[in-house]
Symmetry: C2
Subunit: 335 residues, 2 copies
């Protein structure tokens, strides 16, 4: 560990996620100064990050690729910033910057909080418009409607919004952020509490998903996107690295089949890069994996095993259709 190494675990403390974000919204009416406009905004979303992954999935499902370009920082970052180390000459080709921090500083010269992904950047000015991920996907679904592809599904149907929000809230605290509370616990007590809460919520989800194909209604919604991004990282990272090891996801039959069903649906699995996910967690969190060794397992090809969930009925895309193949420059390796 060196002086530049970030510290995620605070001895004696529970993990407390900073949920203050830049809350500007890009809307049809442009009331915050940021009108919906094809080609104007660049979505910066590392493959590794579960919060960013929500936005890459929703962008794919809705066919927003031509309206909103995608910047992909590498899997690791230092104390200060995500970096565009995967790009030729280490610069994002649209923004021309090496570090996402530059786009934050362009917006606010003294931006004091974490440099997070996803971030939507205004290409003309080079500044970050918003990093408020729970709102970003909702706005993709409700404000960017004119730019959706033909056959785009309704991921946030009006009559189901209350239920989606309610389920998503439980999932956020207990699962999405719950795994971090386990992994970054600064005391045995805070770990034990987070561990119990996480698995009790997963048991609840296992039961809910035993008789229904999707979380809310009979089609894929925003709630499924939010659960998926944690489930897809569970066995490969959270089980070992974050000590979420009561059982593997693959030991929960309904949840595991549900997750595979989504993975095999166009727009989900084609946003997942398991190697980048491993690299992110095992290399970045030097205070819980000081050796920096990447584990060799588990076998991620099992994500392609048949899931058998069709027998539960459901219409994944409702009255819509699946998206086509990803753009050539946005393809991920096979699992």
């Amino acid at each position: 560990m060196n002086d530049r190494a970030p510290s995620y675990v605070k001895p004696g403390e529970s993990f407390d996620r900073d949920t203050n974000y830049i809350e500007d919204r890009i809307t049809r009416d442009g009331r915050d100064g940021w009108p919906v406009e094809a080609g104007r905004y660049h979505l910066v979303a590392a493959r590794a990050c579960p919060w960013a992954n929500r936005t890459t999935i929703v962008r794919r499902l809705l066919g927003l690729e031509n309206a909103i370009s995608l910047g992909l920082p590498g899997p690791t970052h230092d104390m200060d910033s995500w970096t565009f180390d995967l790009d030729t000459d280490g610069r994002d080709p649209v923004l021309g910057v090496e570090r996402l921090q530059q786009s934050y500083f362009t917006r606010f010269a003294d931006y004091p909080r974490g440099i997070t992904v996803p971030a939507l950047v205004d290409i003309p000015s080079g500044g970050v418009v918003t990093n408020n991920y729970p709102q970003i996907t909702i706005d993709f679904e409700t404000e960017w409607v004119d730019h959706h592809r033909q056959g785009a599904p309704d991921l946030y149907p009006e009559h189901l919004r209350a239920e989606i929000d309610e389920v998503a809230e439980l999932i956020f605290h207990d699962v999405n952020n719950g795994v971090y509370k386990c992994g970054f616990a600064g005391s045995q007590k805070s770990y034990d509490r987070a561990f119990a809460t996480l698995f009790s919520r997963l048991d609840w989800l296992e039961e809910r998903l035993t008789s229904r194909r999707f979380l809310v209604g009979d089609t894929i919604t925003e709630a499924d996107v939010r659960l998926f991004t944690t489930l897809v990282r569970f066995d490969v990272v959270y089980y070992g690295h974050f000590k979420c090891n009561r059982n593997l996801l693959s030991e929960m039959p309904a949840l595991w089949a549900y997750a595979r069903d989504l993975f095999q649906t166009p727009g989900f699995g084609d946003t997942i890069d398991f190697l980048q996910i491993k690299q992110h967690y095992y290399l970045t969190h030097v205070d819980i994996n000081p050796t920096g060794i990447l584990p060799g397992g588990p076998d991620t090809s099992r994500w392609l095993d048949p899931h058998g969930r069709e027998s539960l009925g459901g219409r994944p895309f409702g009255d819509g259709t699946p998206p086509g193949a990803p753009r050539a420059d946005e393809r991920v390796p096979a699992p």
Copy 2:
């Protein structure tokens, strides 16, 4: 991490186990000065340690409890020594010492190597006779015959010794020590190599044990004891802590059933304390688990699930019988 914290991982290096031990033997003819004699020697063997676990199992299977007393250091130790912190007033009741190091220094005032368990201590002089664990169990089996209980099995039958030695040698390098080579690897390359070797050997064992109940012959032998002590720690520690995560033991049907079969055999499972095992690895290796958090999983009660291995035939104790219940002062918690 503090100055007194031991370091197990040497950056850039593979893990290299010091296999130099005090090689004196306790024999019937007493040729090294240590004749077999009931009540004279004290076996110091932490529940946590897989190498010590071999000796506690063999002592139980052969019924040597009345001939050789047992000292049980706690699960954790510092740089210098295992300690008797579980005993009343922190002293081993037979030896009267607080730290096993004292028994090593009584034997050799300048003993330069690690203070390891198992160790056999000569009670009259208070000095360690031997810590050479691969020999200790063989000597229990072949030199202590006059003190075996009635019905004790032959764990090292003459006509199978060559095969037992051969299998045990492969298991030692690739599995028993193989998991440590994964966990203490100082480079990605040495980890990757150890990981591949470990799982290729487990695949070989999985196949071997699909059609035969035990490793060598049709009864329990020394080879099974040596494999068991690693398998029983696999899911609870090695999978996560040592990154041996291609798959859980419980995902290898034959090996998992084989391990449960042994666990449920008197003399095996009744030497296992899963909490002490977890505490040992997760609290002692501060350089790979700096937070000192103990994981909550996995569920160890599954070790009692039916194993169905009877259908393969085999006679666990050969012409002998299982041992009776453990002594009251040597009982372990239920899994």
